[in-house]
Amino acid sequence: MKVLLFGGFLGSGKTSLILDLAKFLVARANTDLTNSQSPSLVIIENEVGERGIDDKILKANGLQVRELFSGCICCTLTTELTVTLNELKETFNPQWVIVEATGMAYPHRIAETIHTYGKGIEELKILIVADAERWEELTEIVPGLVEGQLTKADVVFINKIDCLEPETLEKVKICIHNLNPTAQIFCVSGLQGLDPETWNKAVLGNE
């Protein structure tokens, strides 16, 4: 069971990218003749607010979703996350689990919990979605959070590049590289969808 942990500020486009990735992973599993009977993908949703929206969008697209609400999986719901992950491993053993954190969570804290208490996890990747359209505002208003989310990411998606001039995008890219020189950085537009090749590189590590 491989875990992909998605983070990034509110409205950065996490759900749209997850939807795109889910389609990529499911299509890939369907063409894999060696695939077992276990479901290829389960998504764990952690949302701000009493009423879930993202879980409904994902379910409406035919995806399997587990919801964790009324708290944050980086601080108040760590036990619930561990229990859910371990239960998924025991009952379904999916090939992939995608965890969508709230936009205010620090994903590296979630990763620490999973590393410490998760069972049977082959691989864990932290993927952060950065909102290029609001980069300047967010780094003014919540610099600690933006930095905290980005600095320990394995992969960074600079999203909404369709809203930016190339020079501005380049500046954002340099800022993010300076914050996290080891992360793989991809400039994407969730609105337009991602090239499968991008998912191959970002998730499967195929260069």
Binding site: F9, L10, G11, S16, E47, V48, G49, E50, R51, G52, I53, D54, K56, I57, A60, F69, S70, G71, C72, C75, T76, T102, G103, M104, A105, Y106, D131, E133, R134, E137, E140, I141, V142, P143, G144, L145, E147, G148, C163, L191
Partner: protein, 168 residues
């Protein structure tokens, strides 16, 4: 978001807090709204409600889509006037078909399911969440609720609208 957790918006490096100790009379290099937000923003205010809409007969739901768009625009303008900051506003309408929309205060993203524009529905569930910084939660909830109900009942006067408190 539980208040029992840590404060996610503490400024870890102190940069903003240091910049904002001064009065506003001098020339700031950042925008005034941002300047004020940095002083008041810690945890966001959240409006998160779900409604069950029942129509007297099956009908096109495009008017509901328009009502939700009007609501979103009015809410964005209100937050802007109040010098608040939009974390995220999003919603999902679901009958046999579905439609979702979201905004961070810039453009509005909307995506209907393939059969949405032709669909006729007699019932619809609408879920909405607005996560806003810098405005009191009771004020946000009162405005968002009143505005949403206003646009929905204007769009479809014969609808029955009930708050859904069963979800969680």
């Amino acid at each position: 978001m539980s208040k029992a957790g840590h404060e996610h918006f503490q400024h870890q490096d102190g940069k903003l807090d240091n910049r904002c100790e001064h009065e506003c009379s001098h020339e700031c290099k950042h925008e005034h709204t941002v300047h004020h937000l940095s002083q008041i923003t810690k945890e966001p205010s959240i409006f998160s409600e779900s409604y069950e809409l029942t129509f007297s007969e099956s009908r096109s739901i495009l008017q509901i889509q328009n009502a939700l768009t009007h609501w979103l625009n009015e809410l964005l303008a209100w937050v802007n006037n109040k010098r608040g900051f939009v974390g995220h506003i999003k919603g999902f309408a679901e009958g046999n078909e579905s439609f979702w929309f979201s905004s961070t205060g810039k453009t509005i993203q909307a995506k209907p399911s393939s059969g949405w524009s032709q669909a006729k529905e007699s019932k619809l569930t609408i879920s909405t969440t607005a996560i806003i910084f810098g405005i009191a939660e009771t004020e946000l909830k009162d405005f968002a609720r009143e505005s949403l109900q206003k646009f929905l009942t204007q769009a479809v006067p014969d609808l029955t609208l009930e708050v859904n408190d069963k979800e969680r």
